[in-house]
Amino acid sequence: MPIVACKNIRKTYRQGDIEVHALRGVDLSVDKGGFIALAGPSGSGKTTLLNIIGGLDACDEGSILLDGDRVDQMTASKLADMRLHKIGFIFQAFNLIPVLSAEENVAYVMLLQGVPARECRERARSILDDVGLADKYGRRPHELSGGQQQRVAVARAIVSNPSIVLADEPTANLDSETGRGLLEMMREMNENKDVTFIFSTHDRMVMEHARRLVRLRDGQIVDDANHPVQ
């Protein structure tokens, strides 16, 4: 059974008289353990699709099944619970709470999940070790480089073993070398910890790291292919 199954998703934004068809009938199904890139030019609907899968935005038509639950039929409170327990989010920027250290940023979500404080700490540290930030536990976001901040965001997204991690252009604000490093690290987590990733990008280099590449254009999927693993 796929971990995510989207059927015929449509989303239209209205701004005054203008209608923008952000998604026009998207079908997408993702298996557990996948490492999938959503590629497409700016405005093609990548963010909209990720937001709808993650329950941050509602679609106008269609259905989304996440881990067996209908995302499109959930109440706001159920959606919050789902995001807290089943989804890890990584955004392009501003992923971290500025007043919390790297360790605290990672631990905070677990704390909200009700994990005991002590365990939060231990798990936060161990995951920060995994993403290569063993000596940066106590750093505040502004004391970290952009790449390091994104690593903290990845650590936070995967620390409580979510069903899926949704990453919206996680490398867009990084130089290509740092971006490559982050991608490789995500790929490592995908393989070693069996975390499912869907990430969007319009960067060719990033696409090449994906095991499956889904191309979007004007709110429709135009290509969907499994990549050979390098």
Binding site: D57, A80, F94, L100
Partner: protein
């Protein structure tokens, strides 16, 4: 960690937080310390009025209150006093006085005054005159038959001085005009100029002799150790006295002050509310500013699965910390100010013309009642949290999508 997070968020913008804290501290100080001064003024006023020949309880012959003439006298105090004493608690003090309207004059001036015949020793426990009120000369001594104590203001008005003569005139018990010359042996000072101008004190026996009233007195004034038990003691006395006599408490005797005290509590609440409104606008505005600046963060938290209620709670935690810190500092400075003034008070004599009119003492001591302190803290704390709900609810309403779009 929630507290920690709130605490750190508070200090993200030190200047802003310092400004809100200052507003809270000044507000609390105005409520507590200025409130204590107002309470002190009211208290001083009551104390003065009680001290100025009122006492806590007075006993008169029926009719004296509406018509304080010599006919309405207590003819047989020797029989009445043991009865009264029996009904009083052991630490109560009492004094019997002659008190009539009279005219004082010397070669140049004439004025209507109240002539008070006192028992010097008993009186000193009951009213201001026996305390160190004499600024020049001396208090009445046994045998000072022709001695009169006059107030400083009256002495000045009469252009006279210590040792000079004063003639007093009044109607005696036989409805004849009684007149007698006295010598000023002591000059007293009182809180209020009106007291200095209004009363002349002589020996009770001298007054009785002059007015041909035998042993009779006009009133018996009682002072209790504690103002709170006045009503019940008055009831006790009332129940043992014959019908021809009436018992009044200071509340009955000073209706204007009683009325003032009754509205004073309401006024204190109004005062707190007004200060809070000024302070509250500052709090809400600054919190709102802080929250709009952090809009993206609240969006992020919601994306991570935080429920609106948790966001409300975390914003309220911030304002709770703010209030606790502000209240602590505000109370500290208030207590410090109260303590600093508790010995010497504030001297308002520069404004004494105005204060005299209002019956306020020249020196005001702050009186900090625990209920006033509690009320001020409660108002700031409860209303502070209540108004913080608004910015908190605003923060909780940001949706992740729109918050993230605000880059």
């Amino acid at each position: 960690m929630h507290l920690q997070l709130a605490w750190r968020n508070l200090w993200r913008n030190t200047r802003r937080t310092a400004i809100i804290l200052t507003a809270i501290v000044v507000g609390v100080w105005a409520m507590v310390f200025l409130g204590a001064l107002m309470r002190g003024m009211a208290d001083g006023m009551v104390r003065n009025a009680i001290d100025t020949l009122t006492g806590h309880i007075q006993i008169h012959r029926e009719g004296y209150r509406s018509d304080p003439v010599i006919e309405n006298r207590i003819d047989d105090p020797g029989r009445l006093i043991p009865i009264i004493e029996n009904a009083l608690p052991p630490d109560a003090r009492w004094a019997a006085r002659v008190r009539v309207n009279a005219v004082a004059n010397n070669a140049r001036h004439t004025a209507g005054i109240t002539l008070v015949g006192i028992d010097p020793e008993a009186e000193s426990a009951v009213s201001f005159i026996g305390r160190p009120a004499i600024s020049q000369g001396r208090y009445l001594r046994p045998g000072d038959d022709n001695a009169v104590l006059a107030g400083r203001a009256l002495v000045d008005d009469f252009e006279t001085r210590l040792g000079h003569k004063l003639v007093l005139m009044s109607q005696d018990a036989q409805k004849e005009v009684a007149s007698r010359a006295f010598r000023i042996t002591g000059i007293f000072e009182a809180e209020l100029e009106a007291t200095e101008k209004g009363f002349l004190f002589v020996h009770k026996s001298t007054a009785q002799e002059m007015l041909r009233m035998g042993d009779a007195v006009s009133e018996i004034a009682v002072m209790l150790a504690d103002r709170t038990s006045v009503a019940s003691v008055a009831d006790d006395v009332r129940s043992v006295l014959p019908d021809a006599f009436v018992v009044h408490t200071w509340r009955d005797l000073l209706p204007a002050i009683t009325g003032y005290l009754d509205i004073f509590d309401g006024f204190m609440y109004l005062w707190r509310l007004i200060i809070f409104i000024a302070m509250g606008f500052g709090i809400v505005n600054t919190l709102l500013m802080a929250i709009f600046e952090r809009m993206r963060e609240f969006g992020l938290l919601k994306a991570l699965g935080m429920k609106p209620w948790w966001i409300v709670r975390s914003v309220l935690t911030e304002s709770l910390l703010l209030l606790v810190v502000g209240l602590s500092l505000g109370n500290f400075f208030s207590l410090l100010s109260v303590w600093a003034l508790s010995k010497k008070g504030i001297d308002l004599s520069a404004f004494s013309a105005g204060t005299d009119l209002a019956g306020i003492s020249r020196v005001v001591y702050p009186v900090l009642e625990s209920r006033d302190l509690a009320a001020a803290n409660l108002v700031v704390f409860a209303l502070g949290l209540l108004i913080s709900l608004y910015p908190a609810a605003k923060a909780a309403r940001f949706t992740p999508v729109e918050a993230m779009a605000h880059t």
